[in-house]
Amino acid sequence: MKLSLFQTTIATFILFFSVSGFSQEVTLHGYVKDGDNGEALIGANIFVKGTATGTVTNVYGFYSLTLKPDNYTIVYSYVGYEEKEITFDLTRDVQQTIELQPAKTALDEVIVTAEKQNSNVTNTKIGIDKLDAKTIEQIPAMMGEVDVIKSLQLLPGVVPTGEISSGMSIRGGGRDQNLVLLDEGTVYNASHALGLFSVFNNDAIKNVELYKGIIPSQYGGRLSSLIDIRMKDGNSKNFSGKGSIGLITSKLTLEAPIIKDKSSIMLSGRRTYLDLLTKAAHKMFPKEVPGELPVYFYDFNAKVNYSINSNNRLYLSGYFGRDNADFSVDDENIFRPGWGNYTGTLRWNHIVNKKLFTNITLITSQYDYDIYNKFAWEEDEETKYTEFNWTAQLRDQALKADFGYFLNPNNTIRFGMSSIYHEFDLARIKGKTDTVDFNFHFPQKYSLESAFYVGNEQKHGKFALEYGLRLSVLNNIGKTDEYTLKNYEVVDTTSYRKGEFYNTEWGLEPRISVNYTVNDKNSVKAGYARTRQYLHIASSSESGTPLDVWMPSGPNVNPQIADQVTIGFYKNMFDDYLQLSFETYYKWMQNTIEFKDFAQPYLNPSIESDFRFGRGRAYGLEFLGRVPRGKFSGWVSYTLSRSERKIRDIQEKNWYLSPFDVTHNLSVVGQFEVTKRLFLSSNYVLMSGRPFNVPSARWNYYGWILPYYDGKNTSRYPNYRRLDLGIELKNKPKKRYESSWVFSVYNVLNTKNANLIYFEQEYNSQVTQAYRQSLLGRIYSVSFNFKF
């Protein structure tokens, strides 16, 4: 019944907008690309000169503009590129692919958003931030390793969930409430080196969009945000490369045409060598460097695309990354943990007709970890041992079909569906001792997460609207065992056959945003979105660990639901050199998950019996002031916010602070082009400490001295502050070869920010002592970058 309602809605949409469409019309459509390397340009502007009529390219660089038959001068523009004007005698449909040349002036090289300069004012997007690879590259980075996620953490409404974490809390949400997509493949754990770096190699990245407000109806599955990361397509014109040699990592990216202007390939790899360096340092300076750090990671990105003809194009892209550590003492005493992600995406772009663009995508992705542990001992002159291998994984297979119908310049309808098959292998421990074998296996879980959506971007005078509806469904599928809980205690277990659909959760997710453009420098926007989340991290860690276990909603775990209202005011000044935005939001959350007191989050087969459910609310005010280009560029971001929870059946009956509540969050990012070969950059971060649990009192029970907690999250970490500086010295270019040295200092002031605060009672005196663990002091780095 719901499906027929959905179909009716789509038919009504198309009928309504067909009636309001032009009676006689012609269409100009095609792609907009970078003239140097053939990369599709996302969000390029195409408009009729002297009018407001126009459109923008989609994420594949496709555009379609329907007009009355006439002569038109069409302007193609993209910030950082030379504008192109072409006159068309549009008496019939025209397919035209345009290549824009990058601007050669230094001024245009430093850009924050690769969009029309006032698009922040005129578009309907609310609660969205965009970063491109160039911007990310210029932010001073820890150990010289520029990082997508660490850069996003400098934007309003985004806070890291720990000093070294790649996890993020966005607008007060949990770290599992962010959908991170790399070329549409879900990345379930975006951390390398326990969160020190993210899994995204900036050299392989073309574009990053963060939706923290009104997520388009095309996307769903997480409450708080969408982080949409697109890989480079690969240079279809020339062989080119880019790389860097840094203190702890080196990386190399190569791009080349396979068939010029028709097919190209991009390969990118990165590896750390901290393990090798610390080994050498320990050997050379055993006192100063008391131990080795036998941890390393590597990752690999690849993408191939092939243009079959002007209407069909295929993309195949993939990511593979892994962290490994080896804390073995000898061959008999081994501890080797490892974890990693992979994603694979096959996409088919097809232009059905001049107005209808389709993208069919097949996706696979996986996150897994494994721990191999062996320990041996001597007993009765014999060597005895125990060894085990602990593994867990989450694997997705997905099919998506997205359609963009460019009805007329005022309406672009998007509809489609997606279906993701999730396989959860929560834990499997297989091992043996010298006498027995053992095998411990949690029940596997399977689920099918599907969605159907329809939406429209509509312009009407000074108003622009984007509205849509998403129907999301989760089916739990056998073969598995499900516990029956009564008062959170397991009272029964039900086994389901392989392929048996035994539980369904579903819901509608309306999304709408409205833009009232006062003039081309000022606008007011408002929006509402409902989001539903069917997958949850079952971990008590706020910062994130490699052992994070995801699990689906089911008979015992309801989907999380959020409703968010956002209002914003946008103002551009000084010929768009200064862009200001003020946004305020209020978010209500249902079925927020919290662990009960004394829960057992790890290796607990009935972990859902330790969950408790309740409500959450988050609200705040965000300010962003950006200078997107010029000799001096950068931004100032400030967030004032509150995030709270109220959970039934745990000790705290009232609203209490969420562990992700950060009251004040200020970031200042500045980049200054001193000369054409000398760049200075800096960023400063100041934010309130996050809430945590500190005992309010001590008490005794027959000699045991115990802490007493007078509520949850009643204390805060000290404020976090950090200043980073960077200098880039460009060497004199030689033909196509360019190189530079980048020197950076992370945490210049050597502020001892707390990664962890904990308390210990000395065994004999029972005196309580507080300890602060600060992992990252002042860190110097140097890297050599090159490209050709």
Binding site: A599, P695, W699, P707
Partner: protein, 290 residues
């Protein structure tokens, strides 16, 4: 060339060393204060004796002084129609002892009633009710040294303790088990083995095994102790054991909480318990001697 590479290598390593500092530092922490809460440590056992109840109050988390005993309380325990008065022990502020000796009996309900001195911070009355479990009596027990380990300069042995006991009917399966070595003063609360495992068979016989690692001698005499406790008390003791200092590098610690007692629905800290204790003295034998 090699010299150049080595120089770069040393430079990098020096940079790393320069950035290395001890990541953990002692800090001063400003603990927020809360009004004191009363704490009750009280139990009735099946041993014939004058039973005791200790009444103290919470103090700031970093206050390492002895807990302040609460004097001038009116304390009594009711068992059906019988009431036991408790009197303050003068030498130990906050400690109250029953006026007469008595032994807790199986399946008897005991009601604690305490009237603290007039004070705005204390409740007017503190109450709790517990029923003495139908506890296990140990019939026979044995302790065997099963293995010997040499680790660095120490020798450790694994001691396997076995006991068999029964109760009138298997209504209760919550136990504290431990051993007490000769000349050892047992701690007031020993939670080495807190178990809810059910070994009670239809004929009401309970058989249990548990182990220890330490240095033992064959022939050494030990007491095998089994305390049968109520489910509420068991849950409370689980909480006591799990309360840990919060946080580790990844937040792996158990989510925090307070051990939920049975006094004024948890508003007063501590627990009023009824425990059925059974003890058997055995001599340790080595595996070879078995």
């Amino acid at each position: 060339m090699n010299r150049y590479i080595n120089a770069v290598y040393v430079f990098i390593i020096l940079l790393m060393i320069f950035g290395c500092e001890d990541p953990v530092k002692k800090i001063d922490w400003d603990y927020h204060e809360m009004p004191p809460k009363l704490i009750i440590n009280g139990k009735i056992t099946n041993e014939y004796k004058q039973h005791e109840i200790l009444i103290t109050q919470t103090q700031q988390y970093d206050d390492s002084r002895a807990f302040k005993g609460i004097e001038d309380c009116d304390v009594r325990v009711h068992a059906g129609t019988t009431s036991y008065e408790y009197h303050a022990v003068g030498s130990h502020p906050g400690l109250y002892r029953s006026a007469i000796a008595f032994a807790g009996t199986r399946n008897q309900q005991y009601e604690l009633e305490i009237y603290p001195p007039d004070n705005n911070e204390y409740p007017d009355v503190i109450t709790a009710t517990e029923t003495m479990p139908d506890g296990v009596d140990i019939h026979q027990a044995a302790a065997y040294i099963t293995d010997t380990y040499e680790y660095e300069d120490t020798v450790e042995m694994s001691l396997m303790v076995y006991y068999e006991g029964s109760s009138e009917k298997p209504v209760n399966n919550y136990f504290i088990q431990y051993i007490v070595r000769q000349d050892e003063v047992p701690p007031a609360l020993n939670l080495d083995i807190l178990t809810s495992e059910e070994y009670m068979e239809e004929d009401s016989v309970r058989i249990a095994y548990f182990g220890y690692f330490d240095y033992y001698q064959a022939g050494e005499s030990i007491d095998v102790v089994v305390k049968t406790i109520t489910e509420t008390h068991f849950r409370f003791l689980e909480g006591v054991r799990r309360i840990s200092e919060p946080g580790d590098i990844f937040g792996f610690s158990t989510p925090i909480g307070n051990a939920q007692g049975n006094l004024n629905e948890g508003d007063v800290l501590g627990f009023f318990s009824t425990e059925y204790e059974s003890t058997k003295k055995v001599a340790i034998i080595s595996y070879a001697m078995k």
